[in-house]
Amino acid sequence: MATNIIEVKNLTKIFDVGTNQVEAVKGISFSVREGEIFGFLGPNGAGKTTTLNMLSTLLFPTSGTAKVAGYDINNEPDMVRKNIGMVFQEMSLDIDLTGKENLELHAIMYGVDKKTRNQRIMEMLEIVQLTDKANILVKNYSGGMKRRLEIARGLLHYPKCLFLDEPTLGLDPQTRRSIWDHIKKLNEEYGITIILTTHYMEEADALCDRICIIDHGEIIALDTSENLKGHLKGDTISLEFENFKALKKFEAKIKDFAGIHAIKIITPKTNMRQMLSKMAAIRAQMSGGKKPPAIMMDPAKHDAMSKMMRSLPTKMNIIIENGSEKVASLIKIANDSGIKIKSLTIKQPSLEEVFIHYTGRSIRDENGSRGATMREIMQRRMRSVM
């Protein structure tokens, strides 16, 4: 049985924000086994980075404790620091130095022997494939190269575990994949325990042995990806109908169908409330006047009406046990009642569904666009500057 490299007990962090107190981490307890890739998954502001900062002794917990690599974070922070590697969410390299100089300074700060220093640096550069870029100023590195150099730096003093805070935030998909490969290689070939935070589902799924879903400072679920998905009894069948009416009719028909856990109607992107208020206005207009309402005559308005009708939901997700077996009978119900199904897909549960299941909302609600992410980064940077 593998030993635990990190043991966390009732770790709590309360920030004073003005006169308010914000409980960023609410008494969490967990442990990380030696040699595993352990991931914190949660939306921004869930408490992932705060937890990581406490484990790396950058912040002191308000209460509770943790042992990292056998040392207490409250009483032996210097020993903890010597035994961990840290890659921050934001770039923390000195861009006016070369890659090698950055690593040299790190080696000196962590007390790496002068004799082994150079050899160690070369070894790490080799792992992240930056040997030929060693003597170039970091300001001329690409985003992915900087990230790799930071990982190399984090490993330079042979830490027992490596903390990665959002390792692929802001990187393009190709670079992201290459970083994943590096992380996996480190774990498999060198046996380094890796603790990472992410709000990318696919990242947690692709990398982590165990995933800890964290939201509002609390651990909501902690298990392997497979087991987390296993908790969701059933597959997701996504159906698309010709119109809202057909969807409603079908929904009524399958109400008593055995094995269905949930029916979720997918709302189109247009603002539902705005649309409904427009509809109400049109309806009022139609019932008010005695003459046939203008909307019936005016082709332009007619168009607007049908456009609105089109923006009503036409898709639904059905969470159902043994979806692939039941799908035939669902189609039969539709055919019998003359409902046309435009498209149909069956999906095994993904982490996305797992997240929705546990938190009641999608992780992507908050992390939609790249613009939002960039703003987030800027804000975070400004905050750290203030």
Partner: protein, 260 residues
């Protein structure tokens, strides 16, 4: 989040190897930053021509503006930690298993070196342009002034470090220029000689007064028309005392400040 707990912050253990490595970093960065080197040389020349040759009494003013050029360079080196904080490198230092005193000392050494280089450039240029007159002993005077340059650089860097502990971004730089650097500059007696006037006693609270006075002791030695205000040993003790107060204070505040 004050770090009252945790011995790494409160233990005074200084790792000089790390301090020197951090100092070396600042020095490399200074040399690589060509605009900073050029700016410092140009600024020195500007000081020299505007204050030295235009105001008259060249020797007196030239000896006075050398510490001022170091003041600007030292404060800038001191507050460059704000730049590190903005660019993210600060975190790498903060998570390393080194004490904050080690960091403070490293910064002080690095800043002192950089500011000293600027002082040495200026004193060389001033001498070449003949501000102190050409005499056989001039070379020896310059050599003797170098320790004073280092002391001044140490003092101003320590002051810059102290400012940086409370400075979170560069917007506050203007405030510091107006309310700190300029008053220090004008009341130090660099341009106007306060010696012998009642105002001189007031200028004794300005650490730069001692730097200017010490520089005059050395560069104006043997000049019958100008006399320095205080004995040289008093100047040196005062500079060291001010520096130590600044550096201890900044190390203390830094140790108690937040990590992230």
């Amino acid at each position: 989040m004050l770090c009252e707990k945790g011995d790494i912050m409160n233990k005074i253990d200084i790792n000089f190897t790390v301090s020197f490595a951090l100092a070396k970093r600042e020095f490399i960065k200074y040399l690589r930053n060509k605009s900073r080197v050029i700016t410092s040389i140009f600024q020195s020349l500007m000081f020299l021509f505007i204050f030295g040759f235009a105001i008259g009494n060249q020797a007196l003013v030239s000896a006075g503006i050398i510490p001022q050029a170091i003041l600007f360079a030292g404060i800038f080196s001191g507050v460059s930690i704000v730049m590190d904080r903005m660019l993210g490198f600060f975190k790498e230092i903060m998570v390393a298993p080194i004490s904050r005193t080690t960091i403070t000392i490293g910064r002080a050494i690095g800043g002192t070196l950089v500011a000293s280089i600027q002082g040495i450039i200026l004193i060389t240029l001033t001498s070449i342009f003949g501000a102190f007159g050409y005499e056989p002993l001039l070379f020896l005077k310059i050599l003797a002034a170098i320790p004073i340059i280092f002391l001044t650089a140490f003092l101003t860097t320590s002051l810059g470090n102290l400012i940086s502990t409370r400075m979170k971004d560069f917007h506050q730089m203007q405030f510091i220029m107006t309310f700190l650097i300029m008053p220090l500059f004008f009341t130090s007696g660099a341009i106007i000689d306060f010696v012998g006037t009642p105002f001189f006693n007031f200028t004794l609270i300005n650490p730069m007064t001692y730097c200017v006075d010490a520089m005059r002791h050395i560069m104006l030695a043997g000049n019958p028309t100008i006399s320095a205000g205080l004995p040289l040993y008093v100047d040196i003790i005062a500079i060291l005392a001010f520096s130590l107060v600044f550096i201890i204070l900044s190390a203390y505040i830094f140790r108690k400040s937040e990590s992230v």
